[in-house]
Each structure stands twice: as structure tokens, then as C-alpha cells.
Amino acid sequence: MVKKRKLGRGVAIVGAGMSKFGMFKDKDSKDLFTEAFNEMTASVNKGIDPNDIDALYLGNFSNDFFMHQSHWGPIIADIIGTVPKPATRTEGACASSALAFREGIFAIASGFYDIVLVGGLEEMSKRTTEEVAEGLALATVPYEGRAGFTFPGVFGAIATAYFEKYGANREHLMNVTIKSHNNAPLNPKAQFKLTIRDMMNVKVESAKKKGLPVTEWIDEKDFLRDPRANPVVAWPMHLYDCCPISDGASCMLLVAEEIAKNFTDAPIYVAGIGQGSGRGLHACKDFTYFEATRYAAQEAYGMSNLKPEDIQFAEVHDCFSIAELLHIEDLGFFEPGEGYKAVADGLTRLNGTKPINTSGGLKCKGHPVGATGISQLYEVWTQLRGKAGKRQVPIDDLRVGGAHNLGGTGGTCTFTILERR
């Protein structure tokens, strides 16, 4: 049983921004963060003077490795003009900025600060695919690396265990991919803006133009089954089961609840937060759930007095298609072993009973690892304010959403519940 926790005082989000996610030759980390920061300040409708920001918490996994530059806290504080206010970097692999968000919450809840900027960034695309894979593999546990496991490899092994235990198969993973690709074109910030059907048409047209033999696929699954279109990366993970290499930045302005209305007419409140930790695959009792997610979820539900059925929609950490199935079960949206059936039945689609990854998820929105946690919260914030445009969740009175972020192979997991009052 996880201890029931509460904040010393409430915290509200009064502004948020994120850069476009993608592979950018002509933009660096500072440019991307500037993009996110400018959108954030513009979103605070009663205005924010950056001089009033008390501190910055910034999530970054490994620009050290990717860009050969560390110590990003003060670099970013300098470009946004908050120096000499404190700037602190947090690292939790792919959950780095969810940790920055939590530090910002604690700093305000303790009464020490009133106005805190939290953010995240990662710049990965200037490295080769092999180098990025090596960089990401720094966040597996040592025994896994020595056995030849890569990141997709660990999730591939998890998938084989899930298939064995619950009778699912590759076709069920395809449902996750197709759903993410259907949401992404509706998100102007997403890295991939094509549905699987669009991709098929593009490939057919391109082959016709080049005078090459044209492959006609019957439907999306037929395309995803074709090893030429969707090659194996780490069985059963194929190319379309894996998130891309991305650059991007995200940020949010947090303030004490009692002053929230000074900044915006539409504050979004932090209802529950949770964080857990986990071990390497070999030390897990069962490979079909993440202990860290279950702990984080219990903490967040306990704090918010909310239940899984109260969460109207959520962003979950779909670094690989199989991961989305585990998360929607671990967060209690579906019973263990029922997640893949729920996805197959369309329950997690934009118009389903529990929309998941309306942003397109990591798979299609992109996954600049250090920026991901706050970009998920950005999506929830956007939806709760009714500003998600064509991908707006079609539920009347949308009030409560969740964001789940995972670092490494489940070593760090967070769950955050936001609400509109």
C-alpha cells in the first residue's frame, strides 16, 4: 500500500509551450527552447514578466552524449533571461522532464518559490542512428547491454512475454501504431503527419514515378506485415513499432494556486503526482507490467482521490507499441491482459471511451527524450483548455487527464493527473 500524500499548497499551470518536434538541421537546443518559451509566454493571457520567475528546472537526458555539451540549466536560464535565478537540471532518462515538473511542484508546494519554469529538451538528430542507439542504451541496465540487448530489444522481449501470457500477437501491436498515426496528422507539432494509409499511397506514387514495380497492399495491416515496408528492428519490434529520433523542447509555467488567476483566466490544476522506480528486466517478477508505473499511479490516484475511470483521456509513454499496452493496464484503465483487446475494439481512439495519445504519442509526435515528459503534460493541458483543434477529445465537460512518462526500461516512471476546475 502506497502512503497517501498531499502537497503543502496547491500548484497550477498557467502557461505552456513546446517546439515543433522533428529532425532539424538548422535548429539547436537553444533555438528549440526559445520556440517553446515564446509560445509559453504568449499563452499566459494576463502576462508574465520573466523577471518574476523564481527558478528553472530543466530535464535533459544526455545532450552530453548527443551534443558533447552538458550543464544545460544555466545555458537555458541565460537565453531566456532568468540568470542569476537558480537553474537545476534533472535526469531520469526518457522521464527527465517529468522529474523537472515534479521538482517545480515541490518547490512551490513547500512555499519556497511562487513562480517556477519547468522544461525539457533534447537534440539527437545530429548523430547517426547507431550513435543515438548507443546513447539511449546508456539508460538500460548493464547486464542487458552485455547480453546484446538494445532498447528495442528489451521491449521486444517484453512483447514476447506479453504475447505468451495473454495470447496477443503482432497484429494487436499494429492496432496501436495505426491509431497513433491516425491522431498525428491532427497535431501541427508532430514529427510524422501521415496516416499509415497516407504512407502507403506515398510509396505507391513514388514507385510509379520511378517506374519501379508497384506493391499494392490490401490494407494498413497488410502494409505493416510487409518486411520491405516495415523491417524488423528487434523481433517482434519492427520499424513502425518504434518511436523516431527527434529534436525538441517543451516548458510550462507553474505558480502557487492562490495566485494562478493573476496570470490566466484558464489555469489547469495539478490534482495528483506520482513517481516510482524499477529494476532491470531480469530482476522483475513478471515482464508484463512495470512496477514503477503501478507505484506512481497509486501515489497519484491516492493524492487526487481519483480513480482510473475518472481519467477521461491520457498520454502514455509509447516509446514502443507494446509499451502502450502495458501502460494502459498498469494505470488501471484496463485489466491486465485486456489492454490489447481494448485497443482492438477502438476504445483508445480519439473518439473512444478512453482516448490514449491524442497527440500521436511518442511514435508519431516524436520523442526528444528530455522534452517528452513536459510535452505530454502540454497535450493534456491543451486538451483540458479545449484548444486541441481537430484532435480535441470529443467528450463534453472534459475535466481530468493524465500523463505517464517512462525512463529507461522502466527504471523511472511518473504519472501526473491534471484537472480543470
Partner: protein, 138 residues
């Protein structure tokens, strides 16, 4: 043997000697492979070394087409994938290992529950001997 600390370095030394070793808590009997110096089950016990029989079964696996540089150096690539897995030892603990003697190009033929026996892969790296833990069908 009793002198060695319950560490990754000792674990690797034992692998060099073709011994798969774990640590067992003298209080609560919990078994750890690789060894742990602290019992995370009871937080009370001292540890003692225990040698595994090297027999087990496959509990999860993957066949990797795009591997890390040291696997590429061994000749693995997109058209020549390799298998990595988690093996449940007959003593109950689980270890990450390379899986040999299976067909990674046809992963559908590899079944969870497959009985396996340990194999020690010795490699010379930077003038020192390094041993990778592997298993193959019994």
C-alpha cells in the same frame, strides 16, 4: 572463493572461470544472480556464494537486427540477426543472456519455455579475457 566480494567484478571473474555464480541470503534464503551485496528482500542477512547448475528455460527473448557496436564487430547485422533473452534458471533466479543454437531469422520457431543450458563465450578484448553469458538448447 568465499573471499570474493558480492560484486559485478566477481561475477565476471567467475564467468571467466566458467562458473555461473549467485549470492544467497543466509537469513531469508533469497537468491540473486548476478550477486547482490545487500539482500533487498529482508535487508538483514549476510550473503553466501552459490553456484548455479546452468540449466534453465527461456522466459522472454528478442531477435535483434540492429545491434550495438560489439555485436556488429562479431558479424551480426540486419540480414544476420542474433537472439538475446532472459533465462529462468532452475534455481529460480533469472539472467539476461545471449541465446545461441536457435534461428533468429525465423523467430516464430523460438518458443518461450525452451529448455536451455549455459555456455560461456570467451572473447579477447583489449588484451583481457571477457566472458559473455550465453545459453543454448539442452
Amino acid at each position: 572463493m568465499q573471499e570474493r566480494p558480492f560484486s559485478d567484478i566477481s561475477y565476471e571473474q567467475f564467468l571467466n572461470e566458467e562458473r555461473l555464480m549467485g549470492s544467497r541470503c543466509t537469513q531469508c534464503n533469497a537468491l540473486y544472480v548476478p550477486p547482490r551485496p545487500i539482500c533487498v528482500e529482508c535487508h538483514r542477512g549476510d550473503m553466501s556464494w552459490e553456484e548455479m547448475t546452468g540449466k534453465g528455460k527461456l522466459s522472454a527473448f528478442t531477435c535483434i537486427a540492429i545491434g550495438p557496436s560489439f555485436m556488429i564487430a562479431e558479424g551480426y547485422h540486419r540480414k544476420n540477426p542474433y537472439c538475446s533473452g532472459v533465462v529462468e534458471l532452475e534455481e529460480g533466479a533469472r539472467v539476461d543472456a545471449r541465446i545461441e543454437g536457435v534461428d533468429p531469422k525465423n523467430p516464430e520457431t523460438i518458443k518461450i519455455g525452451l529448455p536451455l543450458s549455459v555456455k560461456f563465450l570467451h572473447r579477447k578484448e583489449d588484451e583481457s579475457l571477457k566472458t559473455y553469458l550465453a545459453f543454448r538448447p539442452s
